[in-house]
C-alpha cells in the first residue's frame, strides 16, 4: 500500500538521520563518551549541553543534511536531544520537498 510504504521510507530516513546525529554527538561531546545516552534524553537536564555545542550541532546538521535552519527554529530547545534534532531535520527536509 502506497501510504504504508511512504511511512516506512520516512521512518527509514528518520532512523538514518538519528543515527548520524547520535554518532556525531558521541564522537564530539567529551562529557558523553562514557554515558548511556538515550535519544530522548535532554542534554541540558543532564547538565551537558553548552551553547557552543549547540552551535557545533547546527553546523553539523546544516552541512550533513544540506539544509539551512531558519532563524525561528534556532532555539536551545531544538538542539536539546537527539530526538528533537531528528524531528527538526525531518520537518525541514519535508518542507524542502524531499
Amino acid at each position: 500500500m502506497p501510504s504504508e510504504s511512504l511511512t516506512s521510507m520516512e521512518n527509514g530516513a528518520a532512523a538514518d538521520t538519528a543515527a548520524a546525529i547520535r554518532n556525531y554527538v558521541r564522537a564530539n561531546m567529551t562529557a558523553l563518551r562514557d554515558v548511556d545516552l538515550r535519544d530522548d534524553d535532554n542534554f541540558f537536564e543532564k547538565g551537558f549541553v553548552t551553547s557552543i555545542f549547540a552551535m557545533q550541532m547546527l553546523d553539523f546538521i546544516e552541512s550533513t543534511f544540506g539544509i539551512e535552519v531558519p532563524d525561528d527554529r534556532i532555539t536551545l530547545q531544538n538542539f536539546s536531544s537527539i530526538d528533537s534534532m531528528t524531528r527538526m531535520v525531518g520537518e525541514l527536509k519535508h518542507a524542502a520537498g524531499e
Partner: protein, 353 residues
C-alpha cells in the same frame, strides 16, 4: 548593497581592510616570467610599509609561477607583508575570492590593484563589491580615504601579525584529529573581561565600525559616545581580550549594557570575526547572564538582523535568548535566566569588574 552597519545619518565611506596587488608592472617593473630583471616600482616599499602600519592587510593576485614569484618577493624583502598570496594561473577574481575566504572579511572591504584593464574588469564584473584601481595610480593609494583610518590602534598595528598567528592556529586545527572541544582545550585560551578604560575607547570605536558578522545591532558608536557611556553609572561597558598559546588576539569584543531599575538590556554585543570559531561570544553572554541573575534583574537584548550577522543570532538564540518582540529586522530578546551555564572548561575566564 544594503548595509545595516551604516545607520541613517552616519553613512560614511566604508573603510577598506585589504589591498590585493598584481605583481608584473604593478608592484614591480617588468614581467618575471619573460626573464626581466624586475625591480620594485619607486615608492612601493614605503607605500607597503605605510599601509601595513595602518592595519591594512596586503595580499597578491598574480598570474605567475608561484615559486619563482615568491622567491623574487623574498629577494626584494617584501614577502612577509603579504598574507595568503595567490600566485597561480586562475582568474584574478577567483584569487580575490580565495583571499577573502581565508581572511574572513567582507568583499566590500577589498581594493584590487592591477595594470591590466582586462584584469580589473574581470574582477569588477565577477566581484562588483571590490574596488579596482589602475596600477598607474598606485602612488595615490595611501591618500585614499578608505585606506586612511583616522586613528590607528595598537590592535590595528599588530593586525598582520595576528593573522599570521591565526594561520598557525588553523594549521594545527586542521591537523587535529578528535573532538573539537579537545582541540580548543589544547589552545590554553584565557578570556579577560574588564570594564572599559580610557585607553580602550579608540579600539572599541574601531570594533563597532569593522565588525559585521558578530555584531548584534550594527550601530556605530563614536569615541565621544563611548566615553560618555563609560562614565555613566546607568551603563556597563565591557571590553574583552583573548589570548592563547599562539599569542594575543588583542581586544576582540565588547558589550554595552543599559541598567534600568528592574531590567538590564544588552544594547550591543560584538566580537571580532577572527574569534568566530572560539565560541567567546557565548562566554561573554554567560558572564552577562550570571551578573543579571546575581543582581536579580530581567535581562533583555537588542538585536538587528542583517544579511551578515547570522552568527550573532545563533549566539543569542542558542544561549536561550528568545524573541519577545519584533519590528522588521529589529528584535528584542529576553533570557528568562532559567538555564544557567558555566563557562566551558577549555577556556579560563578572568573578570576584572
Amino acid at each position: 548593497m544594503p548595509d545595516a552597519t551604516a545607520p541613517e545619518g552616519n553613512r560614511t565611506v566604508k573603510m577598506a581592510k585589504c589591498v590585493v596587488w598584481d605583481l608584473d608592472d604593478t608592484l614591480w617593473h617588468g614581467t618575471l616570467s619573460a626573464g626581466d630583471h624586475v625591480t620594485l616600482k619607486p615608492g612601493v616599499l614605503d607605500l607597503i610599509r605605510t599601509l601595513d602600519s595602518r592595519g591594512i592587510l596586503l595580499s597578491i593576485a598574480s598570474k605567475n609561477n608561484h615559486d619563482d614569484a615568491m622567491r623574487k618577493l623574498e629577494e626584494l624583502g617584501v614577502a612577509e607583508y603579504f598574507l595568503y598570496p595567490q600566485i597561480n594561473w586562475n582568474s584574478k577574481s577567483s584569487s580575490v575570492s580565495e583571499i577573502q575566504k581565508r581572511l574572513n572579511i567582507g568583499l566590500d572591504t577589498f581594493v584590487f590593484v592591477d595594470d591590466q584593464p582586462f584584469e580589473r574588469d574581470e574582477v569588477a564584473f565577477a566581484l562588483p563589491e571590490v574596488e579596482t584601481v589602475d596600477a598607474a595610480d598606485y602612488l595615490t593609494l595611501d591618500a585614499l580615504p578608505r585606506l586612511s583610518p583616522p586613528v590607528v590602534t595598537e590592535d590595528a598595528r599588530r593586525r598582520r601579525l595576528m593573522y599570521l598567528e591565526d594561520e598557525r592556529r588553523s594549521e594545527s586545527e586542521l591537523a587535529y584529529q578528535g573532538p573539537r572541544e579537545d582541540f580548543l582545550r589544547s589552545l590554553g585560551m584565557v578570556f579577560r573581561i574588564s570594564r572599559a578604560g580610557g585607553d580602550d575607547l579608540l579600539r572599541l570605536e574601531e570594533l563597532t565600525k569593522r565588525t559585521s558578522q558578530l555584531n548584534s545591532t550594527g550601530i556605530h558608536y563614536s569615541h565621544e559616545q563611548l566615553e560618555t557611556l563609560m562614565h555613566d553609572p546607568g551603563h556597563d561597558l565591557w571590553v574583552c581580550e583573548l589570548t592563547d598559546r599562539y599569542g594575543s588576539y588583542g581586544k576582540i569584543g565588547m558589550a554595552l549594557v543599559a541598567k534600568g531599575q528592574d531590567r538590564w538590556t544588552i544594547k550591543m554585543l560584538l566580537m571580532s570575526c577572527r574569534t568566530v570559531s572560539k565560541g567567546v561570544g557565548t562566554v561573554l553572554l554567560a558572564f552577562l547572564i550570571k551578573r543579571a541573575t546575581a543582581a536579580e534583574k530581567r535581562l533583555f537584548a537588542d538585536f538587528r538582523r542583517t544579511s551578515r550577522n547570522r552568527q550573532m543570532l545563533l549566539t543569542y538564540q542558542l544561549a536561550n535568548f528568545r524573541v519577545v518582540s519584533k519590528d522588521g529586522d529589529d528584535h528584542v530578546y529576553e533570557n528568562d535566566l532559567t538555564v544557567s551555564q558555566d563557562y566551558p572548561d577549555y577556556i579560563k575566564v578572568e573578570v576584572n569588574a
